[in-house]
């Protein structure tokens, strides 16, 4: 049975229909990546799944309708890392990650030993132990992004939503972050729904890609089905080639040919 199910999700922003009736179901432990050009509705769709955006339609996780749950119960099922999070510069990184435990701490209470254990473990998994006592303002872009990921992982939800999780990372840290997500997915059956601009990475790490254009789904399937020259160059209005290297679809931009 599918873990997360979305039925006929539509979002209207002002007069503009940002998403038109999108339905999908995601299995437990599946990694789905939504791709598409700027303004195609990727982030709006993630916001709707995270209940940060008013939408029409129904989203269920484990059979429970998210709109009928309290904010706290929703936050125990779905965690979310936005593309551009607000970072309190004078907060310690350790405290920042610890805030991820919020949905598991009673409303007016404070964290317990278990919460500190969970956060300590996640920090060591992401090689962040050294950063715990530094302020967020003193971290590099890559360290910040890993702290944000750590905070969402500390929430210990079955579903995690990631909006451009690797945009600020260099090649090595991109791989490190994505490899870690891949490990956690195997260990805890974590279900990941992400958006990505790097189509090659998206194809390599995800089980399934969905190509959005103007708020609708243009293609849905594995990398071989979706990363095709006709589909990608059409929706992105880009000149590309797709080369297969060791079974992975690699997207290579082509320069403009002289006329």
């Amino acid at each position: 049975m599918a873990l997360l199910e979305a039925k006929n999700i539509s979002v209207t922003l002002g007069e503009h229909r940002a998403l038109g009736s999108i339905s999908l179901s995601v299995q437990s432990g599946e990694w789905l990546t939504i791709i598409g050009p700027n303004g195609s509705g990727k982030s709006t769709f993630l916001n709707a799944l995270a209940s940060l955006q008013n939408y029409e339609g129904l989203v269920t996780v484990g059979g429970k309708s998210l709109s009928e749950l309290t904010a706290r119960n929703r936050a125990q099922l779905v965690s979310y890392v936005p593309q551009d999070p607000i970072v309190p510069l004078d907060m310690l990184a350790g405290d920042y990650v610890l805030l991820g435990r919020t949905p598991h701490i009673s409303a007016l209470g404070v964290e317990g030993k278990d919460d500190l254990n969970i956060v300590g473990e996640i920090l060591s998994r992401l090689d962040l132990e050294e950063l715990g006592s530094r302020s967020m303002g003193s971290l590099s872009g890559g360290e910040l992004q890993r702290c944000q990921l750590a905070r969402a992982l500390a929430q210990m939800t079955p579903v995690i939503l990631l909006d451009e999780p690797t945009a600020a990372l260099d090649l090595g840290h991109q791989q490190q972050a994505l490899d870690l997500l891949e490990e956690l997915r195997r260990e805890r059956q974590l279900t990941i729904i992400s958006t990505m601009h790097d189509l090659t990475l998206a194809g390599q790490y995800s089980d399934r890609l969905m190509l959005f254009d103007h708020g609708t789904v243009v293609a849905d399937g594995n990398a071989e089905d979706v990363i095709k020259v006709e589909l990608i160059s059409g929706t992105y209005s880009a000149r590309i080639r797709v080369i297969e290297v060791d079974g992975a679809q690699v997207v290579v931009p082509r320069t403009k040919e002289p006329e």
């Binding site: 979310y80 607000i86 004078d90 310690l92 405290d95 805030l99 007016l108 254990n117 715990g132």
Partner: protein, 347 residues
Amino acid sequence: MVLANYERLRPVWLLVGIVSVLAVAAVSLSLGPANISVGSIIYEIIDRLPLLKTNTELSEIHSNIVWEVRLPRVILGGLVGATLALSGATYQAVFRNPLADPYLLGAAAGAGLGATLGLVNRWGDGSGATDAVPLLAFGGALLAVAITYFMGLRGDSSRSPASLLLAGVAVASFLTAIQTFVLQQNADTIRQVYTWILGRLNTASWGEVWLLLPYAIGTSCVILLNRRILDVMRLGDAEAASLGIRPDRTRKIMVVAASLATAAAVAVSGLISFVGIIVPHTIRILFGSSNRIVLPLSMLFGASFMMTVDLVGRTVISPSEIPIGVITAFCGAPFFIFVLRSSRRSI
């Protein structure tokens, strides 16, 4: 492995805060035109506690000075300082704005207009807890915040905190314009109104203490219980919501609590500025930025700061007094700049 590096309120800091309040209180009780030693005041206070008896050496006159003049004034000063510092810290947290102070949403302008109307119409003279002026100031402050709140939310579906702040600026200038006009039409009361606006504790009596105390206790409990939630709010509304917090509701509860506390403080002491900004920021710089540190320590150090300021105000040019609002800015601003410049932390 357990997370070891995080910011928490250390008991020793709390202790330092409590000791500073008690020390300043003791000095304030003994200093004044009538010289009374700290020791005899301590005996006197112990003597009045239930079940305890000591040989108090104070004469009846001195005993009256301590009980009816100095003690209510010291306690009121402490309560006003604690309340204004806590309200300032709360506004800074919910609006994520370091410049936020307790008067941000129009409380000062509303209280100023209420008090001015009371004074020019001679409904009261601004002293005593049952006088019309403090009640008008209290009502004016709450009314101004309520107008700001509804103006700021209407017509803005996204309910951004910034629109609330802007509405506060508009409401404050509107009410100040009316107040200035009323004052200009009644030039004979300018001095009285001006004295009220600069803030004072010299008319303090037990009546005013009892007036402020329930608000101070009630609102500070509500705010302190939410100290961790206020840290979550530092991540912004969207992320707070994805962590299961309802940011709009939290902001509403915190604004109501902080505004009630501010209105009650303003009603008994006039407009004492600056405390709500410098105390919380000094705490952030010296101890840490988590609201679990900032909120409780702001109350304690706000109290001792205000008692110190009042002590200075009533002793340096004794027998006359310097208005308390003048000293908060005169002593507070240089001290704050010193702390700001000498700190390695950023705000």
